[in-house]
Symmetry: C2
Subunit: 261 residues, 2 copies
Amino acid sequence: MEIITSSKNEKIKNITALLSSKKERDKQGLFVIEGLRIFQDTLKTAPGFIRDIYVSESFLKEHPEEDILFENNGSIRIITVKDSVFNSISQTVTPQGVLCTVEKPEHTLEEILGGTKFLILENIQDPGNLGTMLRTAEAAGVSGIIMSRDCADIYNPKVIRSTMGSVFRMPFVYVQDFTEALRRIKGHGITVYAAYLHGGEAVSGVQFDKKCAIMIGNEGNGLTDGAVAEADKRVFIPMAGQIESLNAAVAAAILMFHGIA
Amino acid sequence: MEIITSSKNEKIKNITALLSSKKERDKQGLFVIEGLRIFQDTLKTAPGFIRDIYVSESFLKEHPEEDILFENNGSIRIITVKDSVFNSISQTVTPQGVLCTVEKPEHTLEEILGGTKFLILENIQDPGNLGTMLRTAEAAGVSGIIMSRDCADIYNPKVIRSTMGSVFRMPFVYVQDFTEALRRIKGHGITVYAAYLHGGEAVSGVQFDKKCAIMIGNEGNGLTDGAVAEADKRVFIPMAGQIESLNAAVAAAILMFHGIA
C-alpha cells in the first residue's frame, strides 16, 4: 500500500494547487472535497465523479479500507497519507482525515433550462454566500442555477464547504455572455424576476409565474442596470429600520421561499 | 498632536486585546469598530458611545480633522496612527484607516420585552450568522433579540462587520438562565415559536400572533429539547431535495419575514 510521507510529494502538491487555484481546477477539470460527511454524501450521490481518495493513517485505523471500498465498489483509488502531511493540506481546524479529488459536474444552459424554477446570479463574490445560495436553492426546489462568469468559483473550497453537498445535486452553469443567456432564458417562456431595491413590486404581493427565475445581484452593488433592463419584473423585499439592504444569500432565500418553494 | 508610531504603544496593544479577547471586552465594557461606513453610521446613530477614534495618517490627509470633529461636536478624542501601525491592527485586507473604541450598548430583558416582535437565539456559534441575523432582524422589524449566554459574542469583530451597523440599533441581551428567560418572555403574553425540523406546523400555514418570538437553535444541532419544551408552538420550513437543514441565518430570515415583517 502506498503511503505518502512528504508534503513535497507530487500528488500532495497537486491537491494544494487544486485548493488554491481556479486556473488549476479549470485546467484539470477537478476539485477537492474534504470531510467525512461530504465524502459519504458524494459516495452516495455521485460516486462516478470521485477520482482519488486521500485518507490519513489515523482515519484508516478507524475506518478499515474494506469499508470505504465496499461503499465505492472498489473502483476508486485510495491513497494513505501520513497524518502530519494530511494536516498540512487540510482546510479545517480539526481535520477528519479524508479528502477526495472529484471531477467537476458539467451542465449546459440548455440542459438546465429543461426545468421550471431558476436562480440567476450576477457577480456574487462571497464564497460563503454562494455556497449558502446553492444549499437554499436545493431546499426551495430550484431546478438549476445560472451564473454570470464573474461570480465566485463554486469549486473554491470555501463554497464547497457551505454547499453541504448540494454541489452534486443542484445543476448550475457559468455563462460567458450574461445578457444573451437572459434572452435565451426568457425565450424558454421563463419569467425573470429581478431583486431590486429601488422600485418594482413588494414580494408579498407578487404571484410568481409557474416557470420563473429569481435574479440576484452583487453583494455591494446589486444587479447591473443591464441585467435589470432584461428582467420581466422587479421585486423588492420591504425593510424596516435603517437597513439599506439584506445579505445577498438572505435576500435570495426570502425570494426563493416566497416565489418557488 | 499625538501620533502613535509603534505597535508596542499601550493604546495599540489594548486595541489588539479588545479585538481578540471577549474577556477583555467584557472587563472594559468596550469593543472596536473599523471602517468608514460603520464609523459614519455610529457617529449618526450612537455618537455618545464612541470613546476614541484612531485614524491613519493617510486617512487624516483625506479627511481633515475638522470634518471628523464637526460631526462629533468635538467631544471625542482623535488619535493619529502611523499607516504601518494602523495596518498591523486592522482586520481588513485593505484598511480604510479609521477605527474606534466604542462603549457596549447595554439592555435588560425587561426593557427589551416592552416590544412586540422578538428573535430568540440558543447557542448560535458562527459570528457571520449572528451578525447577519441582527441585520435581518432589523430589516424584518424585530424589536429585540434575546440570546442564551453560549451564543457567540456580538462584539466579536467578525460579528460587528456582518451586522452592518445594526449592533447600535437592534436591542439585544444575553441571558444567564435561558429557561427562566423563556418563561419570563411567555409571562409577557408573547407566543414563542420554535424553529424545529421534526414536526410542528409548516411555516406557510402559521398565522403568527401579534406578540411573538421566533426561536432558532444551534447551527449543527438545532434547539435543545429543553428549549423546544418551553416553546408554545413548533414550526418548520418544508424543504425539497436532500437538504437536511438550512443555514441558521437563512432559516431565521425566512421565519422572520413570514411571521414578523
